[in-house]
């Protein structure tokens, strides 16, 4: 067991080193990700008009907290280019070595995913703390400690779900040569239905209930809703069950796609 863990810890270590090779590229990318926050702040500021207004069950503070939380969630849980890299490795024949070694490709990619997330979060933590300080008057996070624990749990589940969805979409590369367009199509759906543009409970009630059956709502909206204390006890229980359920579905799908894909795969390259 120890040997298995140390193997994948070593993969994570390699992931850390890879990121540091192009540290400027990485750092600038992180800094750029804060620009939309300014746009969001002013857009929703205009939406509320005056600071005391409440619209759709939100005050301005709640909305800004939502988007600040989203930046944290993005850095902790959202894959960046993992899908494109996996597709590239399949296309270029780089997965050949995993067919010959005692290493599980899914676990290998999951370790790399976490190494990147850890560095990304470590890099964003300072700008996020500064943003939290600057916007301290606009924050409305749940004050209950147990909710913070649940928010962390749902964030970890969200990371797993986001990774598995990205992994499954990348495995399309076994059948299609160029997968970036389908990946971006899926990404745009995740963005819209997942709550990346606005909190999903601003949607009309019927639409909201439909969206809550999709896996996308558990990528961004659910962990953020927990973070802001938007759910009652029953909704929390349902939400966690759905999140775990979708993780299981995509894990099964990932295993199935891999076994089918490998049979279809022609090893190229040296």
């Amino acid at each position: 067991m120890d040997a298995v863990f140390s193997k994948y810890f070593r993969v994570m270590n390699i992931g850390f080193q890879n990121t540091f090779v192009y540290r400027w590229n990485f750092l600038l990318r992180v800094l750029f990700s804060f620009i939309p926050l300014m746009g969001t702040f002013f857009l929703w500021g205009a939406f509320f008009g005056e600071p005391s207004a409440r619209i759709g069950g939100y005050a301005f503070q709640g909305m800004i907290s939502y988007f600040l939380g989203l930046i944290l969630l993005d850095s902790l849980a959202s894959p960046t280019e993992d899908d494109l890299q996996i597709a590239g490795e399949i296309r270029d024949g780089l997965i050949n070595q995993f067919l010959l070694k005692p290493m599980d490709y899914l676990a290998y990619r999951f370790s790399l995913f976490w190494s990147y997330r850890i560095i990304y979060t470590a890099t964003t933590i300072l700008p996020v703390l500064i943003a939290l300080f600057v916007m301290r008057d606009y924050l409305a996070f749940s004050g209950r400690v147990e909710m913070w624990g649940l928010a962390l749990l749902s964030t970890l589940l969200s990371a797993t779900l986001q990774f598995l969805i990205a992994y499954c979409s990348a495995l399309l590369a076994f059948w299609v040569l160029e997968v970036s367009a389908p990946i971006f199509i899926l990404f745009s759906v995740e963005y819209m239905v997942g709550g990346h543009m606005f909190p999903l409970d601003l949607l009309p009630d019927r639409l909201y209930r439909v969206v809550m059956w999709t896996p996308f709502a558990y990528e961004y909206w659910f962990p953020l809703g927990v973070f802001l204390g938007r759910f009652g006890q029953d909704e929390l229980l349902d939400g966690f069950l759905m999140q775990i359920g979708w993780c299981a579905v995509f894990l099964g799908l990932a295993r199935w796609l891999w076994s089918r894909g490998i049979r279809h795969y022609t090893a190229v390259g040296g």
């Binding site: 192009y22 400027w24 590229n25 990485f26 750092l27 600038l28 990318r29 800094l31 750029f32 990700s33 620009i35 939309p36 300014m38 746009g39 002013f42 857009l43 500021g45 205009a46 939406f47 008009g49 619209i55 759709g56 160029e178 367009a181 389908p182 971006f184 199509i185 745009s188 759906v189 963005y191 819209m192 543009m197 606005f198 601003l202 949607l203 009309p204």
Partner: protein, 262 residues
Amino acid sequence: MTRYLKLAVALFRYSLGRELMFKANLILWVVVEFLWFAIQLALVEVIYSHVRELAGWNKYEMILLIGTSHVAQQLFQFVFMVNCIDLPENVRTGKLDFFLLQPANTQFLASIRKFDVGALVNGSIGLAFAVYAIWKLDIHPSALQIILYAALVANGALIHYALMLAIVTLSFWIVRAQGLVYGYYNLFQITRIPRDAFKGAVKLFFMFGLPMLVVANYPAEVLAKGLWGWSILGVFVLTFIFVALASAWFRFGLRFYTSASS
């Protein structure tokens, strides 16, 4: 000048032929861009289901702004974007050597070598929504307003170009600059917000530092709010300065190009 025009036409024909070889891919990318545009429209729909006005803009004025922003962005993508994205990789791999050896201006070749044909389709979709919004707003623009609108949209595309060129020029020093390029996508979001929503130093920054609030707000205001006056001339001057500075910065960066491999 005529020579460069002929060269641009030849490069466009080459790009068209190249893209049509992979029709399914072309269509898929059009779908991708359209979906991102649709996300913006969905946001407008959600916002205006709760409020009547946002920073003095009603729903259809907002659709006009978003449509205009999309047209300017797609125009930029049609001519410049792919080439700007390629520059860091061309620098890293040493492929820029081939541009330097051609008997034409290097910045010209590095900026418009490939045309993104799909962006033309997406630009048309953005324009269709802008026209729809004008119709719903019952606006009857004069010929002069339409010309000014078109000129300001083209001006918006040039602002994107100047900033993007300035950003990718950093790749002469930072070997891998993809992070910068993708970061630029974040800036597009600012262009779709009414400038009156911004206040204080941030507004000044996005008007004169990174003039994202000039790209679509001005052309949309010409039609929706009857904007007129010296400020429009100021916008053209501002863009000229930005393009000239970006161009000088690119030439400076080029002096640090060291090629790669053999």
